[in-house]
């Protein structure tokens, strides 16, 4: 067995290190935290939700144009966490793939198929030296007529899987612990409970009380399978409900 030093390039391009790791992929994960944001996503009995912070760093920026939630197909949306330019690119690719699928096969691309496709594209970047992995993680939510509400996550390593709840970004570990505790006890949250769970999770791990303008919430549900983002009034309704509960 070769026990030796690398040629020195394993940190620069996606080739194996002596331990069998891909350093560039690991660094890409760190790049996700550069944005300083956290996103949380969870699903209940018939609803799937994703929540993320909306930090507008400059008063001169038009806040309505600052968004990390994007619609991919009619019933599938996503929240992007990580480097903004890479995120934008990945969304563009996802929208393009979803549209191609619709054109070729005549029906909407299911969320799990779309997520797998994005993950497969991410895998190519981990194997070809000339392209670096993208520094962003995509969490997709959708209402599928066969699978019900779905939450899927893909990352720079090309790994993907379906989740009951997941998170990405700076406070990922804390958010996941919070969600694990909640889901150990109960998994069949109703519409309002699911939304409030996601918001509460974000509030807890960031130790912050949000104003409606400081977060974005994306929802799909059985009654309204079309992906949409909540208006400020609707967010306010949920924030008040959370405050009243506590």
């Amino acid at each position: 067995m070769a026990r030796g030093t690398s040629a020195g390039f394993d940190r620069h391009i996606t080739i194996f290190s002596p331990e069998g790791r891909l350093y560039q992929v690991e660094y890409a994960f760190k790049a996700i935290n550069q944005g300083g944001l956290t996103s949380v996503s969870c699903k209940g009995e018939d609803t799937a939700v994703c929540v993320t912070q909306r930090k507008v760093p400059d008063k001169l920026l038009d806040p309505s144009t600052v968004t990390h939630m994007h619609q991919l197909t009619q019933n599938v949306g996503c929240v992007m966490t990580g480097m903004q330019s890479d995120s934008r690119y990945q969304v563009m690719v996802a929208q393009s793939e979803a549209n191609n699928f619709k054109y070729r096969y005549g029906y909407d691309m299911p969320i799990n198929v779309l997520c797998r496709r994005i993950a497969d594209i991410n895998q190519v970047y981990t194997q070809n030296a000339e392209m670096r992995p993208l520094g962003c993680s995509m969490i997709l939510i959708g209402y599928d007529d066969e699978l019900g509400p779905c939450v899927y996550k893909t990352d720079p390593a090309g790994y993907y899987c379906g989740n009951r709840a997941c998170s990405a970004g700076v406070k990922q570990t804390e958010a996941n612990s919070f969600l694990e505790k909640k889901y150990r006890k109960k998994t069949n949250y109703n519409h309002d409970e699911t939304i409030q769970l996601a918001i509460t999770c974000l509030m807890t791990v960031l130790s912050a009380d949000f104003k409606p303008s400081e977060i974005e919430v994306g929802v799909v549900s059985k009654d309204e399978p079309k992906f949409r983002t909540l208006t400020e009034q609707e967010i306010d309704f949920h924030l008040s409900a959370i405050a009243e509960r506590d």
Partner: protein, 234 residues
Amino acid sequence: MATERYSFSLTTFSPSGKLVQIEYALAAVAAGAPAVGIKAKDGVVLATEKKHKSILVEEHSIIKVEMITDHIGMVYSGMGPDYRLLVRQARKVAQQYFRTYLETIPTTQLVQRLAAIMQEYTQSGGVRPFGVSLLICGWDTDRPYLFQCDPSGAYFPWKATAMGKNFINGKTFLEKRYNEDLELDDAVHTAILTLKESFEGQMSSDNIEIGICNAKGFRRLTPAEVQDYLANIA
């Protein structure tokens, strides 16, 4: 989307004559989840551990033991994303063969072609070897087949083998337990016991996956069937 490729290979010889990128790829495989394959008289079984790091993950959203054709199945140890690419390529290869010859692809042919693809990635410009070892099982010409494909592009026919974490212990266990007269049921039983050797925690139908291949073709066992086998070893 793809730009100009590097025109030189990243996998080059070291002064001692080794291809270190391949050795490192094997290290990635050895760090992967355990997988076991056993050939019986009347079929082949593939089994793998499918542990998830969190209860938040949906266990059945991801499948590790994948069907390639009606009569060929595959499992891996190592990097999941690389495996998905190989599953895709294997399925394509199988369909192309059918299109050319109007015959379902023999297992040996599929293995040879897949191994050739894996070898390409050790020599082509700008790419790294696959970080997976594959276990391919098949049934044709009235007999079972079990092959392993390595990141180097080498392939080996096996009677029984283990890959991934603790594979040495797994192989030792199999050497003691294997005999030529195993029936498929016994083989599944033995496969589960082999996985159990290195399994931390309680085995259930949610954290292992089993596939069998016999004269009727390849299929994954349902969680209920897996549960039955697990009940028998308890």
